[in-house]
């Protein structure tokens, strides 16, 4: 096989030149294309040339049916006939709750590109200032650029003001960017922090740039599974420990059901004393319905069990 041979493939963004190994690999996974429009299904023909016998064979290869290719962390089903006015859900679970003394922000750690998990330990809780953090969901690129701009503006604002920025100001800056660029951005953000005037505050800024101050906020695709949970489990005036347990439980429930959420649960607690980061790896989370205990190997089970586990 001539490994230097290249292949030109016609894609929706024009002709792309790939090496043969890459082309074959592409067939089985995703193709990195610029974020124009998602490719749904790929089938192609390979023409094989046997130079000795001079036989040309053309085969239809459905080496990979790649569904819903998306270049950043969006994992939604986009039917061609879907209602264009329906909002998109985003590949993440993010939560922000207030408690008596501050706020707790929580998130999962999965960043997916289509069906592939690009980063299984990402950190979606980003710092803006010493006392204000945000949870990012939706397009990774969009949320990162918004947070970078807001951090930059807040830095200058803090210098001019001479004291830490308030959570409200930070949230409003996020809102301005989200609202004024609503046609181009696809990111839902939860802003949470503590300042000496208002204490702990949570602001939800969904798609479109609406800003809403809430006692708790949920966002991302995994949040669909949590509306009912929070309706039942939320109480005002929780302690720090109760609130943290609630956040971890909620993210873990969302991870159990949402394919686009997974990995570890990260939490950030912000109060008058400062900021604390916590990390809950997947195996420390409780098991939910139809989930089983983790083992190193079947052999461990076999060795410890009395009854014959492999009988039919």
């Amino acid at each position: 096989m001539n490994s230097k041979a290249t292949v030109e493939i016609q894609t929706n963004i024009g002709w792309v030149q790939l090496s043969i190994t890459d082309a074959l690999r592409c067939a089985n996974t995703e193709i990195e294309t610029p974020p124009v429009t998602p490719i749904v299904r790929i089938q192609y023909y390979i023409t094989c040339v046997d130079t000795v016998n001079r036989i040309e064979q053309t085969k239809l290869c459905k080496l990979g049916l790649v569904s819903s290719l998306l270049t950043n962390s969006k994992t939604m089903d986009r039917d061609a006939t879907a209602d264009v006015n329906a909002p998109h859900s985003m590949g993440t679970t993010i939560i922000g709750v207030t408690y008596n003394g501050g706020v707790i922000l929580g998130a999962d750690s999965r960043t997916s590109t289509g069906l592939y998990v690009a980063n299984r330990a990402s950190d979606k809780i980003t710092q803006l200032t010493d006392n204000v953090y945000i949870c990012r969901s939706g397009s990774a690129a969009d949320s990162q650029i918004v947070s970078d701009y807001v951090r930059y503006f807040l830095h200058q604002h803090t210098i001019q003001l001479g004291q830490p920025a308030t959570v409200k100001v930070a949230a409003n800056l996020v809102r301005l960017l989200s609202y004024n660029n609503k046609n181009m951005l696809q990111t839902g953000i939860i802003v949470g922090g503590w300042d000496k005037y208002e204490g702990g505050k949570i602001y939800g800024i969904p798609l479109g740039g609406t800003i809403l101050e809430q006692p708790f906020a949920i966002g991302g695709s995994g949040s669909s599974y949590l509306y009912g949970f929070f309706d039942q489990a939320w109480k005002d005036g929780m302690t720090k420990h109760e609130a943290e347990q609630l956040v971890v439980k909620a993210v873990s429930l969302a991870i159990a059901r949402d394919g686009a959420s997974g990995g570890v649960v990260r939490t950030v607690t912000i109060n008058s004393e400062g900021v604390t980061r916590n990390f809950y790896p997947g195996d420390t989370l409780p098991l939910w319905h139809d989930e089983v205990e983790a083992h190193n190997s079947l052999l461990d089970i076999l060795n410890t069990s009395v009854a014959e586990p492999m009988s039919t």
Binding site: A5, T11, P87, K182, M184
Partner: protein
């Protein structure tokens, strides 16, 4: 005999990839044909977080306006404490349905308008008619740029004894009437109002009429939420009520066993 070149060169001389390109939901066909390279200019948006109907009526002493506190995100009722009726200056109330972020932006515009009006310090203040006129211009001009503020607004107020109630839509259609409704209210509330509205409604009768409409909307509008606010504005001043819920009625004999005699029907 094994020829190394037998397991040949897979020269994909022509690899055709037939990619089914799905249009991203953020683009429509019209948008693609109108503009392909101006990615940064704003065009027709889509609403994300929306409020449903607002109803307003004139009554004996002024204006009454009612709206629920729901913010829907597509088919999910995501927010249940969104205030959709707000004060504007001394003499007016504004209620909005549609995209909440655009309503929040309109409130900022109105803030600035009222501020500049106050800075004249000439004893005059903008009344509901002026605010309505201003908003009509804003909405219509945005519509002309294909970048609408995705709202239907209801403006009501009293100034110098004159009651005023009007509405503006996202395309700039505006009119003034004795009773106004937006969204689903157009279909469900307006017939009720046409039948039962009178010039000399008392405050109690007005509230009862609005509650009748809101209850009807609660039964029949999918995006309605059972937490409403009723706002009143008179020459003396304005109040927005605390959020409260309406009782609903389900005990009807026809509701108990609707499919008796026709199993399988609904």
């Amino acid at each position: 005999m094994m020829r190394t070149s037998f397991a040949a060169l897979i020269i994909a001389s022509c690899i055709l990839m037939r990619a089914f390109v799905k249009p991203s939901p953020l683009h429509t066909l019209e948008m693609d044909t109108l503009l392909t390279s101006e990615g940064d200019s704003q065009r027709t948006q889509y609403p994300y977080v929306t409020g449903t109907s607002v109803i307003g009526i004139k009554y004996k002493d002024g204006i009454l306006m009612a709206a629920d506190m729901g913010g829907s995100y597509g088919s999910t009722i995501r927010y249940k404490s969104v205030e959709r009726i707000k004060q504007v200056g001394k003499h007016s109330l504004i209620g909005a349905s549609g995209e909440i972020s655009d309503f929040q932006e309109i409130l900022k515009y109105l803030d600035e308008l009222i501020l500049h009006d106050n800075m004249w310090d000439d004893g005059n203040s903008l009344g509901p008619k002026e605010v309505h006129s201003y908003l009509t211009r804003v909405m219509y001009n945005r519509r002309n740029k294909f970048d609408p503020l995705w709202n239907s607004l209801v403006i009501g107020g009293v100034k110098n004894g004159h009651k005023y109630l009007g509405s503006v839509s996202m395309i700039g259609v505006n009119f003034e009437d004795d009773h106004i409704a937006t969204g689903f209210g157009n279909h469900l509330a307006r017939p009720l109002l046409r039948e039962e509205w009178r010039e000399d409604l008392s405050f109690e009768e007005g509230v009862k009429l609005l509650e009748k409409c809101m209850r009807n909307l609660l039964y029949r509008d999918r995006s309605a939420v059972n937490k409403i606010q009723i706002a009143k504005i008179t020459e003396e001043g304005l109040t927005v009520s605390q959020p409260y819920s309406l009782k609903t009625f389900w005990i009807f004999s026809a509701f108990q066993n609707p499919t008796v005699g026709a199993e399988g029907s609904w």
